[in-house]
Symmetry: C2
């Protein structure tokens, strides 16, 4: 199995890292705030698919304490990318051999090129987590639902890069740990496909303080979600990534079947964390402008969310949230 | 002076009604919930321009108790129009002579035709209140700022109807009471002009739980407001009501100079009252569709507000409102 280092040991990073470690992989966890607690109590993943506990995980409390690995699994929020890229510029050559790779498990689109620059010629993979998981305390993560990881490779010029040997190796390790991995030959198409869901539901869940079930329960918000999705699909098509014609209906139907669910951005807002406005909304809008495609609904969501993001930065976490 | 009956004795109806009565006009107030309190304690208007108290106002606690008048001043929320129109169908001929008129002091656009049908051939005027006032208790209204009433006449086919003798008479009565009245020869243009401000600021104040000052304090929401205004102006122009080319900049500049202000829709939302979604957003969207003009930003605000309006109807007034 490959050797992994997980940067960003939140719910997403811990889920995949604990699953890999429990399957026998060598996994380091970069843990800052909770390092002492994790060293004392280990890492715990509760899951309907089976709980896991790592009594003595490999914990690094800073980048300097990380040791060489094959795959640097970056699962921070995109809002932390500047910080991670700065550390990578210093530590990449020490941590990664020529065949080392970065696996960027994040929302949004357009971050892989900066990671490719930061790690020189090494392979950069994008990871798209279809996962409901929440941090419940220091070193404790609850897996609620789903869990598959789509993996695709970045290539210069954002061309489709096909399926690499490294992708297959990671997928094999994940599968050994019981986690399905889907290999996609086109990273940008995979990111657009995930944005189809994220661009409407993440902002609206914050702006309207609503679960996915509430948004799907009102015809007005369903219509708004559908128009938002159509705008995203139009820009994806303009970038040569036409998605299936039934995708809007398919995503709405799938969401209607989901259990009520707070999006990752809603969890961020409720906790007073920065919102992923840039990679999830601003970057799609920049791509729309370059392609000459209008995204007025996405622009409205962007502006509302940018306002709320700055208010969170000013006020901190909201207290009681009863919205009317 | 003319004889008035005020239907909808909230902040707006009481402000104009008390000002008229204090100036010597015969004014009846249709007061339901607070009838006993108003009979006992009168009507009070506090104002930086001078407090007024009517110790013994003419109070009717139901439509049947109203007596004939010259002007029925309807100042209910537009959400009550179905109820008011139903009462008018029964009581118009008893309350209004052939020269009687309705003055509809409401937000939105497109309600005068239904009032014209309800009162037969009688004159229907639209009133546009530029007024900050709040109900503070039974029979007590606080005037905070502004107060001018723009009056314009409805005509079949929504053509510009010019300035009528009745409009001049009402303006004279208002002026006698210290309230400026502006006569506009084109009701539909006047309504579009007011919608230029209301369509962005009323919904956004509710959706983002923000004062006008907060909305003007963030570049993202200023940009969103400006795009919303531009969509409204385009539909107004398509209806033959082109507004001045500088109106967006002028309105933004004027709003930036205003004291922080909760919109009427924000007050409605905070109190758990129905929101004026239909006359302020749905009707402009219907007109846009008829004119073949796109209003994607307004459509997004409409759908978000429709969702919140139904949630208010389900949950009632929100409690603590701390939005993140």
């Amino acid at each position: 199995m490959l050797r992994y280092a997980v940067v960003g040991a939140g719910a997403v990073g811990c889920f995949y890292g604990i699953r890999l470690a429990a399957a026998g992989a060598d996994v380091q966890f970069l843990v800052r705030r909770d390092a002492d607690a994790v060293r004392a109590s280990g890492l715990t993943l509760t899951s309907p698919e089976g709980d896991l506990h790592l009594a003595a995980p490999r914990v690094a409390s800073g980048w300097s304490a990380l040791e060489p690995c094959d795959v640097l699994l970056v699962a921070t929020k995109a809002t932390a990318n500047r910080e991670v890229l700065g550390e990578l510029a210093v530590h990449a050559d020490r941590l990664l051999g020529p065949d080392g790779a970065v696996l960027l498990v994040q929302n949004g689109i357009g971050c892989e090129p900066a990671y490719a620059r930061a790690v020189g010629g090494r392979e950069v993979l994008g990871g798209l987590a279809f996962l409901c998981a929440q941090r419940r305390g220091p070193g404790v993560v609850a897996h609620l639902d789903y869990g598959a990881l789509t993996i695709a490779a970045h290539a210069p010029g954002e061309v489709a890069a096909g399926v690499t040997a490294r992708m297959r190796a990671i997928a094999g390790d994940l599968a050994t740990g019981g986690t399905p991995a889907l290999l996609d030959d086109d990273l940008v198409r995979a990111r657009w496909r995930k944005l189809m869901w994220n661009v409407p539901f993440n902002p609206l869940s914050v702006i309207l303080d609503a679960s996915t079930a509430e948004l799907m329960g009102d015809p007005a918000t369903v219509a708004l979600v559908a128009r938002t999705m159509a705008e995203v699909a139009a820009v994806a098509a303009a970038e040569g990534r036409a998605l299936p014609g039934t995708i809007v209906d398919d995503l709405l139907a799938a969401t209607a079947r989901m259990a009520p669910y707070d999006t990752s951005m809603k969890l961020d807002a409720d906790a007073g964390r920065p919102l992923e406005v840039d990679v999830m909304l601003a970057e799609p809008l920049r791509r729309a402008a370059r392609a000459g495609v209008a995204m007025p609904t996405v622009a409205a969501l962007h502006d509302q969310l940018a306002f709320l993001d700055r208010r969170i930065a000013t006020r901190g976490a909201p207290g009681s949230r009863s919205h009317g």
